[in-house]
Amino acid sequence: MTQRNIIEAINNALDEEMQRDPRVMVLGLDVGKLGGVFRATSGLLDKHGPERVVDTPLAEASILGASLGLAISGMVPVAEIQFLGFTAQGFHQIGPQLAKYRMRSRGRYHCQVTIRAPFGGGITSPEFHSDAVEAQFVQTPGIKIVMPSNPYDAKGLLLEAIRDPDPVLYCEPDRLYRLGRMEVPDGDYTVPFGKAAVVREGSDITLVAWSAAVELCLRAADQLAQEEISATVVDLRTLVPFDVETVVGVVAKTGRCVVVHEAPLSAGFGAEVVATLAKEAFYDLDAPIDRVCAYDVPYPAGSFEAWYLPSVERVVASARRTVSQ
């Protein structure tokens, strides 16, 4: 058994899948010799050659649009967009093209394309590098949205993504890339989409999160435990498909819930979670559901981000309030 952090788990998944399936290729900015700005593709060029590990021109729409064409040709592209915020310069190739192509062709074509994109705050990166814009893609049906939060899931979800016949946006929490290691087995395994994970069980309140916010919620849960508030933490893992059943089941048990995400509050995916719970868990709710999110302001410079992002303190305060209601 091997201990890996998230970046090593992603690298291992790419390497093994390229070995298993000769159609799989990696393309994007600086993915070759450099191994990507976070080194997720480190070593792949030497091992799999320049035809399958390709530094592209600096153009997001090209990386994404060409991936669609590559997929139709019979390749299985894994495109790296250097930061999720940069998808703005290629958005039209994701929502209107990749996500819709199966329907637009009445099933004649499908796009087996994985888009990997690091994102999230807490590492004081420059402008546009941290934006949590995942909910934008929920509004373009036809694509799946995957948000791993730990090394084991990172590998299993990435292998699932690459093999999925439909396009997948795989968002990587850059703050957690090297935060810690866990057991990530060598060899093949997948984590299915649409299955939320209950990563901590408690009886007083449920914290719902995905990606780096899961780590935040686990720390908040530790702190809440000291105040004798017992919290369940649910990791959605994928926003599309959204595992309503698990979330409703868990929240029905605790009767109270806080949803936490790094994206701005308004119309974030948290709004969808809350609206769904308001309908499906209405009679089990003992208090209004709260949300702890980034504020509805543009992502500020790094020196402000501690105030902008949801924090352990804010999550704990919200949970405390919700439990006391």
Binding site: A61, S62, L68, G69, Q93, Q97, R102, S105, G107, H110
Partner: protein, 351 residues
């Protein structure tokens, strides 16, 4: 790798050969091209009429651009080459193997698996998010090259679409990857009501190829022989591994942008009259008549057989399955997630 900018023409508007031109198209092939051009024009007339009767959706005719559309497609081998269309190349995709009756069924709103592109036909769906298709074509050509296939991709764009960022990105990528793709730019002088001089300050769209490291060539797009020669050469280059070509086909949209448009609000009638003088079909007929290969009788027979073929396709199209609510949820994902299954049940009254 310097761009070659020449205006290529073979056949004059009066049907005579341009001085010194030696056509590389045999008589049989030329007659076949003429029939396809007549198919295009006749279908335009029929679809437009049906649209006016409320029996066909919004339609964009290729009227005036038939030489450009037909000759470019005929440079391809449907068995191995691909067409990545924009939306005004209907007979190109039909010639490539997409049955006309299926295309017509789509136009009539009878969109279903029955009307989709057949599995063995190398055509991508129409694209109205302009120039997005060029990126797909570049990627497709790159992928075919990676798999050592000897296929070529022909993709279409207009003078308007060439202003999109995707145009630049796609041509740039194709140049860098030396992808086997031909960018066929139909300069029909109009982007709805906006004239082509509003799309570029240069004299020629073909000039842009220089910036991407491959040849650009301007051709008389109303000259079926010239278009065929230029397109054939571009396909040959791509197949030989020499990379992309940008072809600017100078033509004229002798009709509206689509059935919602009204060119009388912006088009000088003199321009249309001048374009009619350069009609791509008339000049072939004049040429063939001069050479004794066309007669009134042959004209009547050909037009009658074209009409019969189109009538038959339209009749069959009208019998294609009509739209059904369950289709709204088809082909969204390979497998419908639970949430969508519930929404589907709601729509179908099954919940």
């Amino acid at each position: 790798m310097t761009a070659v900018i020449t205006k290529h023409s073979v056949l004059s508007p009066d049907g005579t050969l341009v001085k010194g031109a030696k056509p590389k198209v045999g008589d049989e092939l030329l007659l076949e091209m003429l029939r396809w051009m007549l198919m295009s024009r006749t279908y335009d007339e029929r679809a437009t009429a049906l649209q006016r009767q409320g029996k066909y959706g919004v339609f964009s005719p290729a009227l005036g651009q038939e030489a450009s559309v037909v000759a470019s497609a005929m440079a391809l081998d449907p068995a191995r080459d691909w067409i990545v269309p924009q939306y005004r190349e209907l007979m190109a995709v039909v010639r490539h193997g997409y049955p006309l009756e299926r295309v017509a069924a789509n136009g009539m709103g009878r969109i279903s698996d029955a009307s989709r592109i057949p599995d063995d036909v190398n055509v991508l769906p129409n694209q109205v998010a302009l120039a997005a298709q060029l990126q797909h074509a570049a990627g497709l050509a790159w992928g075919l090259k990676l798999q050592k296939k000897d296929s070529v991709v022909m993709t279409y764009v207009g003078d308007g679409g060439s202003s999109e960022g995707d145009f630049h990105e796609a041509l740039n990528l194709a140049g860098v990857m030396r992808a086997p793709v031909v960018f066929f730019l139909q300069n029909n002088q109009w982007a709805i009501s906006t004239p082509s001089r509003r799309q570029t300050a240069t004299q020629s769209f073909a000039l842009r190829a220089a910036g991407y490291g491959f040849p650009g060539i301007t051709v008389d797009g109303n000259d079926v022989l010239a278009v065929y020669e230029v397109a054939t050469e571009a396909v040959r280059r791509a197949r030989a591994g020499d990379g992309p070509t940008l072809i600017e086909s100078l033509t004229y949209r002798m009709s509206f942008h689509n059935t919602t448009d009204n060119p009388s609000l912006y088009e000088d009638p003199k321009e249309r009259d001048e374009a009619k003088r350069r009609d791509p079909i008339e000049r072939v007929i004049k040429h063939l008549t001069r050479r004794g290969l066309w007669s009134d009788e042959r004209d009547r027979e050909t037009r009658a057989s074209v009409r019969a073929e189109i009538d038959a396709a339209l009749e069959r199209a009208a019998t294609y399955p009509p739209a059904e609510p369950s289709q709204v949820f088809e082909h969204v994902y390979a497998e419908l997630p639970e949430r969508l299954r519930r929404q589907r049940a709601e729509l179908l009254g099954e919940s």
